[in-house]
Amino acid sequence: MKTHKAKRVVITIEAIMQKRLTDALESAGVTGYSILDVIGGSGRSGPWTSEGQISRASGMVQVICIIREERLDTLIDAAFDVVDKHIGVVTITDVEVLRAERF
């Protein structure tokens, strides 16, 4: 089956920043993304877990965008503005996608 080249961008960011990030993505014309819940982790600020948490301050999410290569820079710029001062990891991977008409 025919596949098409694209990029998979994964932005791991604090849950409280999610809305700001997706708003920024939408302003930049990126309307396709999926969100995964991150249940724990560790970084320079030490380990954490979402178990038993009620504070909105804790917790992170992964925002995943599949995007055409030519639109990558727009996305990265939009994301960077939000992620910049905040905790956040941004990774980009080459992927093949089925049904490129969807992007």
Binding site: S45, G46, S50, E51, G52, S55, A57
Partner: protein
């Protein structure tokens, strides 16, 4: 003094406090006991709804006396003012950066609704009644402290920390909306409304509070374990001194206004307690460079347990002495 101790012992020996201690002990002992996030959030929704509703129904029943406006005003002033006290104390007692100190200060001006709930359940256990609108006072005290903390920082530099989105997030955060909304539902439906749902929001309340505090104990204990040693002695001392200072400011305001003994205790508790829901979230957005483990550990690991175990009985005794109640 003997009184305070026996009160404190009484308080410690309640299922509610022992559940919290069990949680802390389990976390320090590295047990894998944990409450699912959804269950913990579910319980917090229940507690906010129940406490708000009961406050509203009580106001519907007893009416509002002239002290309502004054108490709301006092709450606003305390919430906005206590961060300044806290900030200066932190700069003296610890080596925290300005940003960290401002972030911590914001937490101590704001309130911990669970400490408030625990205090109402202690008052109820002792048969001390209080003004129903104290729930509304709790709600108005959440936000001003955040503005004070950001103002403390902005005096140092020039960058704008506050924008419309953040302000809306602070004022319409879920716990305020639920608390205030339930208050108005209770106010609108009164004792009839309360009767129709009292076997849900009154009867099982203390039991749910036990399980919720078990979870809070687990989270607090985990925090203590992970950062043991990251707080200096100065910070720990602050975490115990500041609530006492706050409670005295609250008591002074309560006496000026002429609140009942129960109402005075609750205003003391609100002033003494430190936020760990609304303020941390706002600080992560507005002051991302502040270290969350400092403010979360101080608020949830030091001040919350202090208030729960020693603070509340102390404030009850002080209020009884001062108001003659």
């Amino acid at each position: 003094m003997a009184d305070i101790l026996s009160l404190a012992a009484d308080n410690l020996l309640s299922p509610v406090i022992l559940s919290f201690i069990l949680g802390v002990a389990a976390a320090l002992g590295r047990s894998d006991l944990s409450v699912p996030e959804a269950a913990a959030k579910g319980m917090s929704i229940y507690l906010l709804f129940a406490i708000g509703f009961k406050g509203g129904a009580s106001v519907a029943d007893h009416g509002v006396d002239g002290t309502l406006i004054a108490t709301i005003g006092a709450g606003l002033v305390l919430s906005a003012g206590l961060p300044l006290v806290a900030f200066n104390l932190l700069r003296i007692m610890t080596k925290m950066s300005r940003v960290d100190a401002a972030a911590v200060a914001g937490h101590y001006g704001s309130i911990s609704i669970v400490t408030f709930v625990a205090a109402t359940s202690v008052l109820q256990g002792r048969g001390i009644s209080s003004e129903g609108y104290m729930v509304a006072v709790a709600a108005v005290m959440e936000a001003p402290a955040i503005l004070s903390a950001l103002w403390l920082i902005s005096t140092g530099g020039s960058d704008r920390r506050m924008d419309g989105t953040l302000l809306r997030e602070i004022l319409l955060n879920g716990s305020i909306v639920l608390l205030v909304g339930a208050f108005f539902i209770g106010l609108a439906t009164g004792q009839d409304g309360l009767a129709s749902i009292s076997s849900f929001i009154v009867a099982p309340f203390t039991g749910v509070l036990c399980l919720f505090l078990l979870d809070m104990g687990l989270v607090a204990g985990r925090g203590l374990r992970d950062v043991r040693g990251s707080l200096g002695y100065g910070a720990v001392a602050f975490g115990i001194m500041m609530p006492v200072i706050g409670s005295l400011a609250g008591l002074a305001a309560a006496l000026l206004i002429g609140l009942s003994t129960g109402g005075s205790v609750l205003l003391m508790v609100l002033s003494a307690s430190a936020s760990y829901i609304a303020v941390p979230a706002a600080m992560r957005v507005a002051l991302p460079e502040a270290n969350p483990s400092i403010y979360l550990t101080l608020s949830l690991g030091i001040t919350f347990p202090f208030n729960l175990t020693v603070g509340i009985p102390l404030y009850v005794t002080l209020a009884q002495l001062a108001t003659g109640g």
